[in-house]
């Protein structure tokens, strides 16, 4: 392979890697990430605005 072919191969592999990361992040972002800890540690206080 000459220098130009190496460059094209490099660019092609980079494009595939970037696309892969993009797809992974998209899918991960769509999936639910609720956890047991979120439920167990939930602590909601009601603050009266007339007592502030």
């Amino acid at each position: 392979m000459n220098k130009k072919e190496y460059l094209l191969l490099f660019l092609g592999l980079t494009a595939i890697a970037v696309t892969g990361v993009f797809i992974y992040k998209s899918v991960k972002g769509l999936s639910s990430n609720i956890t047991k800890e979120q439920k167990e540690e939930l602590d909601i206080k009601i603050v009266r605005t007339d007592n502030k």
Binding site: S32, I34, I44, R48
Partner: protein, 245 residues
């Protein structure tokens, strides 16, 4: 994580067309009398304040366990005290189970109504009769609320959480009422409404936006969070009823 909700929310007033403060208070007293024990257990297991759960029951059904959009007792998708849609509930419960969020008490109540999970974490379909059971309806309603709060306040999707840890209950009400994925649900969570950026910096501003595409949800926000509304009454007049915390 500690969150706060400010009640009554500045700038909001419960619509008088839904009844006087006294009539709303009487409704809440009936709800506490009839379902207080179920609300207490659901609150303890989900860590959602009893006043929030009681307010959702009041605004969604007025405390009528067979309330239905197509007439009392008829099997509309959202029949029951908290008016959740049974078509989505199987997956909600499976999600709660797979995240290991169901407590032993919650599992016990579900089991009482024949709702168990197989080795793959699958359960049976939820039916109209299930929805009419006050204890089950309140438990599942609180699980749905818990999932919404977890999802909408998580680090990467903090849409319903302010920097000072104020939980934007108005947004939770909006998504609970409009749904996550339907047309109104998408509008409720979209950062732009018909191309115009939505200002959500205050409850009043967001609720004014909600009013343009879903007046019912706007009324629910006012009724639950506003002056003379359900949370206001529960956390002042009825504080000694144990549901004002």
């Amino acid at each position: 994580m500690q969150y706060k909700i400010e009640i009554p929310t500045i700038g909001l007033v419960a619509p008088k067309s839904k009844g006087s403060r006294d009539s709303l208070k009487n409704m809440l007293l009936r709800i506490i009398k009839n379902y207080g024990n179920f609300i207490k257990v659901a609150s303890e297991e989900s860590n959602i304040p009893a006043s929030v759960i009681a307010s959702f029951i009041a605004v969604e059904s007025g405390g009528n366990p067979i309330a239905s959009a197509s007439g009392n007792g008829t099997c509309h998708n959202t029949i029951g005290l908290m008016q959740w849609n049974r078509n989505y509930t199987k997956s909600t419960l499976e999600k709660e189970y797979s995240a290991d969020r169901l407590t032993d008490v919650e599992k016990g109540i579900l089991r009482k109504y024949g709702i168990t999970f197989n080795k793959d974490g699958k359960t049976r379909k939820i039916n109209c009769n299930d929805q009419k059971q006050p204890e089950l309806n309140i438990l599942i309603g609180s699980i749905i609320l818990g999932q919404l709060i977890s999802e909408l306040t998580s680090k990467n999707k903090g849409w319903a959480l302010e920097q000072d840890n104020t939980l934007r209950l108005d947004k939770i009400i909006s998504v609970y009422n409009a749904g996550m994925f339907g047309t109104t649900g998408k509008l409720a969570t979209d950062s732009k409404l018909r191309g115009v950026p939505v200002d959500t910096t205050s409850v009043k501003k967001y609720r004014d936006v909600v009013a343009t595409f879903n007046p019912t949800t706007k009324n629910y926000i006012d009724l639950i969070m506003g002056k003379d509304g359900f949370m206001d009454i529960l956390t002042s007049d009825l504080i000694n009823e144990r549901y004002g915390k």
